[in-house]
Amino acid sequence: MSKKSPTDRATTRRGFLGGGLAAAGGLAVAAGAARAAQPDPLITEIQDWNRYLGDGVDAAPYGVPSEFEAGVVRRNVPWLTADATASVNFTPLHELDGIITPNGLCFERHHGGVAILDPAQYRLMVHGLVDTPLVFTMEDLMRFPRENHAYFLECAANSGMEWRGSQLNGCQFTHGMVHNVIYSGVRLRHLLEEAGVKTNGKWLLAEGADASAMTRSIPLEKALDDCLVAFKMNGEALRPEQGYPVRLVVPGWEGNMWVKWLRRLEIGDQPWHHREETSKYTDLLGDGKARRFTWTMDVKSVITSPSPQKPITHGKGRTVISGLAWSGHGTIKRVDVSLDGGRNWQTARIDGPSLSKSLHRFYYDFDWDGSELLIQSRAMDENGMVQPTKDELRAARGFNSIYHNNSIQTWYVQSNGVTENVEVS
């Protein structure tokens, strides 16, 4: 038996849209063959992997995914930005299951490339309206009481390219600026209390050590509530592209505030109105006014499979619809799924941990009759807030808001299983 090369697999959308048809047909034939009298050589013949030895324990000191998963990678959209060092790539949501995003697949957003910082040279300063300005080393941070929390991080611009209409064929591109990992770190509150916040301190400025020296103003109330100064993700050190050695975690709030390569925390009595909270990450409304300090990521969901990059290839019959739901306000109470473009809804099954400000995984299992579907998911969070339609958001905000598009997504599943990004009315 010859080994199947991972590069043979269709990894592009065109591969799916074009090749998906053939694949669907081919699988249908294969399924037929399995029921026929011909025995399957994969069973009747002894395979290489069953006879010859595989790699030893010294082959991969740091393990990597199977070669057959080579298509499961972050992808970027080159036309979005001027240069890759101030750009974004997208989590391949369509290939993942459960609620945790593997570290190497967490989307990246940098404003000045990935800073390379030796933890031995790491310093974190707390100053401003404090009793005593302090400097912490990496080792100091590790001596504060540690906590572990799973939180989603969503870029405020996630789905931003879809405000004006369906544009990108793939939930990796429409919804892939989100990831969900378990952070290990210390409460920001402990660091601030160590310096002693003065009573007139109302705001916190967090600053990164990268070439963009990213800054955001955060109200002190949030800083003292659930923010973390994190150094581990999913048990291992933060990846360089996620802010190694230390990043800020601002649960439920837009990703830009989760300052990476965190080096400075300044307490002040008013916000700083820096670039990423004035010229960017403000939401332009239809009348020309703009909302600022729109921090919370509202309730949202998306079906990750089937989706344009993950068509149905097995034909009609037993089918699993799967997706993700999340809310910056807390847990997800319910997810409904529609197969007919929002006319009728069924409640999906949430499976796995339901944690506050974390991704939730939902499934809808059904018998597909092979007819065309317009599939949607609609999440409701613990406060009873329900994900709006695209038209509702546009009616309230116009077409130029860019940020905070948490509207319901529609996928058009054709009878051959090929799936497209569409809008419906």
């Binding site: 036309w79 240069d83 300005p133 591109f173 160590e194 400075r264 600022r292 344009p308 569409v422």
Partner: protein, 372 residues
């Protein structure tokens, strides 16, 4: 160090023995560090492609302005036509003052002041150039490198303090962790500026000076008039477009506070060479941006810490607090409809495949959205 680099380094020592090429005076490993300044725009090595600047593989022996697929300025192409070929000597001259060797070329980098840095980065680039290992020595660079002061170890490392209190005062906080920050340390990092002027350094700069610095340092991305090249940000114009179908959000049309301009330029610009501008240069550029946006009309206007806080941007009043929760779809907070929610079956009104801007779809078309 890459394998390529190691092999090249070995090749060097051999060549150095025979012919003593100038760039052998430079240290490619040190050069790799210097090259960080170049990396925002240039790639070199395996998989290098053209970015903001052309790739630098095999730059030795290359006629200026000739990398396939890179859009050069006509000035750089003209220099190549005039016979400029990159070697250790021409690179050394170019890297010292790029605009002097090739006037008006579009590289927005003011140059490497230290001869040692130039020699090192040239040695680093040589390691990615086939021609460099066979080329004759270039005395100019050699002389320069020889004049350079002996290499000093850079960034003397402070030993990681086990207690986090290297010679400092321990924290008197509840957990006794960390040490007291010294005033010089706070000053070094605390560069932020607020709308009320807090944090502004003393200094001044006028429109005309700002134009000069802008053309030199900023225009290669933002355009001579702040119009923005490729997808780099547009900085000027766009007045009264915010309610249009295609709003143009610039400093003049959108940004609420001038302090943001000063703060951002000082902390992050020019892109890839942050913190390299003087405080006066930042005042001058900010003054020039006001001028380009018609907020000041006198080209001798001088901006300083004294008049900064009184200068207002026109769009300040149009920012409002987050009132999303007042939107009707949230206010309703109703139990969502489950059946027969629309009178007629849903129909498709738009398909992404019509636009076809998904990556890897075989087209280079651009979409209409943006991410920030």
């Amino acid at each position: 160090m890459s394998k390529f680099l190691k092999a090249a380094a070995t090749a060097f020592s051999l060549v150095a023995f025979v012919a003593g090429p100038a760039y052998a005076e430079g240290d490619p490993a040190q050069g790799e560090k210097v090259f960080k300044k170049c990396k925002a725009c240039h790639m070199v090595g395996d998989k290098a492609t053209n970015r903001v600047g052309p790739h630098l593989n095999d730059v030795f022996g290359r006629t200026a302005g000739t990398v396939d697929g890179y859009k050069y300025s006509k000035h750089m192409i003209g220099a190549g036509d005039g016979g400029l070929v990159w070697d250790a000597a021409t690179l050394a001259s170019f890297l010292e003052k790029p605009k002097q060797l090739v006037p008006k070329n579009k590289m927005a980098f003011k140059g490497l002041k230290k001869a040692e840095d130039r020699a090192n980065v040239i040695a680093y680039l040589a390691s990615y150039s086939e021609a460099a290992s066979s080329a004759a020595a270039q005395p100019a660079a050699k002389a320069e490198a020889a004049d350079a002061p002996a290499a000093k170890p850079e960034g003397v490392q402070v030993a990681a303090a086990p207690s986090g209190t290297p010679g400092g005062t321990a924290s008197s906080g509840p957990m006794g962790l960390g040490r007291v920050a010294l005033p010089e340390e706070v000053t070094a990092w605390d560069i932020d500026v607020r709308p009320d002027g807090m944090g502004l350094p003393k200094g001044r700069g006028n429109v005309l000076d700002g134009e000069e610095v802008f053309v030199d340092q900023c225009a290669s991305c933002h355009g001579d008039f702040g119009e923005g090249r490729d997808r780099w940000p547009v900085l000027a114009g766009g007045l009264d477009t915010l309610a249009d179908d295609r709003p143009v959000k610039t400093i003049g049309s959108y940004w609420p506070y001038l302090s943001t301009v000063y703060d951002y330029i000082r902390r992050a610009m020019p892109f890839g060479n942050a913190r390299s501008l003087s405080d006066d240069d930042v005042y001058a550029i900010t003054a020039y941006l006001l001028y380009m946006n018609d907020i000041v009309d006198d080209d001798e206007f001088e901006l300083s810490h004294e008049n900064f806080a009184v200068t207002r941007l026109p769009n300040e009043e149009n920012f409002i607090p987050d009132n999303r929760m007042e939107e009707s779809h949230w206010v309703a907070n109703a139990e969502p409809c489950m059946s027969n929610c629309m009178p007629d079956p849903a129909t498709i009104t738009m398909r992404a495949r019509i636009l076809d801007v998904t990556p890897e779809s075989g087209d280079d078309d651009s979409g209409i959205g943006q991410i920030d």
